[in-house]
Amino acid sequence: MIKLLVIGIGRVLRGLGTRMIERVWRLGAGARLFFLTIFYSGESFRRFHLVMREIYFTGVMSLLIIIVSAFFVGMVLALQGYNTLQKYGSSEAIGVLVALSLVRELGPVVTALLFAGRAGTAITAEIGLMKTTEQLSAMEMMAVSPIARVVAPRFWAGVISMPILASLFSMVGILGGYLVAVPLIGVDQGAFWSQMQANVDFRLDIVDGLIKSLVFGVACTMIALFEGFDAPPTAEGVSRATTRTVVISSLTVLGLDFVLTSFMLAV
């Protein structure tokens, strides 16, 4: 009986250990891929049309989902904010509320989450399928580094697209908030904009938001690339890798957001 229990506990512990070691191994492999990508990115800048193509697929194709969701997020923020602020007789501060929450937090974070779902999955699936159909091995056979040809352009496209998408998200969200606050609810439009301008700092709010989105861009794209590159070359493997991309990207973005915010507010 006791022997059975010990064996059972041993098996659980061994399973945990294996999973842990697997995680650490993947982290190391991901870091190696990251440095290799940086190392090979000179080539992708020399052939910039590759990056352009990827910006089209990751950035331009994400425009619709980003703009539509930003619009609704801004409108909801204005509605919810008004509901609470008018209790304190300061409904003019609604512009500040909408702008600050979008520029500081929601812009970068929601953009990154949507980006992981829209573009990250596409990257993982594409690279995973390239691996499954042995296109990557074929490239290596032709002495073409798959990292320089496939990974690096996608990486830089993601890093370039993310701040652009995030600033678009913030701006469209503020316009959505304006639409609800001013014509719909009837907040004075002068107060809406002037309070916003008085309380949103360019360096501390807008630039910090951009820095956040840049970091999220690196993280999301790198995770998507690594998951694709590391996927087992089977249909099941690719589908699992795609799921993992979304889960890990989302968790990483939210965790990084806390760390970055605490750094930015501490200064």
Partner: protein
């Protein structure tokens, strides 16, 4: 180099991003309103700055004429030394009064300058002599309670002490106020 439709779309994408950033900087942020032009620095000593922060506005007649540069504590006199930068276009008399006000009921605090009548003007590095501290709500309430208490004492046919009568006349907790009252 042959142009492709992808180039066009990426161009549109980047242009949209630039426009959004420009909109954020101009319409949302304070990039346009924050710059004051050349300034000169003046300091003022307060016994209590409340929750005044660096970069808070300095206003005269409601118009922003400068910003708070730094707030330091003077360990010898136990005062707060506030350095403010004022736009060089505006000259203030030497006997200008510096007050700490609050915007709205719960808003941020700012420094209000009330011009005096002196012929000489403040120069770089000068010190504003006349200041009035931030209003501390607890002090005000305790003063109010104390003056109420002394009123009821007065009703009991006791003479009002001169200092407390003065205190109850004051609307705000100024520097001139005697804080040695037994209410404190």
């Amino acid at each position: 180099m042959d142009r492709t439709t992808i180039d066009l779309w990426v161009g549109v994408f980047v242009a949209l991003g630039m426009a959004a950033l420009l909109g954020l900087a101009m319409k949302v942020g304070n990039l346009t309103s924050a710059n004051l032009g050349p300034t000169y620095s003046v300091s003022a000593a307060f016994e209590n700055v409340g929750s005044l922060k660096p970069n808070a506005p300095v206003k005269s007649a409601g118009v922003v004429v400068g910003r708070v540069d730094s707030i330091n504590f003077d360990g010898l006199k136990f005062e707060a030394i506030v350095k403010i930068n004022i736009d060089q276009r505006y000259k203030f008399p030497k006997d200008t009064f510096a007050n700490i006000y609050t915007a709205g009921l719960l808003g941020e605090q700012y420094i209000g300058l009330e011009a005096g009548g002196d012929e000489d003007t403040l120069k770089n590095g000068d010190r504003i002599a006349k200041t009035q501290d931030a209003i501390v709500l607890e002090k005000m309430i305790s003063q109010f309670l104390f003056s109420k208490a002394s009123e009821t004492k007065a009703d009991n046919a006791e003479p009002i002490p001169a200092s407390t009568a003065k205190a109850s006349d004051k609307k705000s907790a100024g520097k001139t106020l005697e804080l040695g009252d037994p209410g404190f």
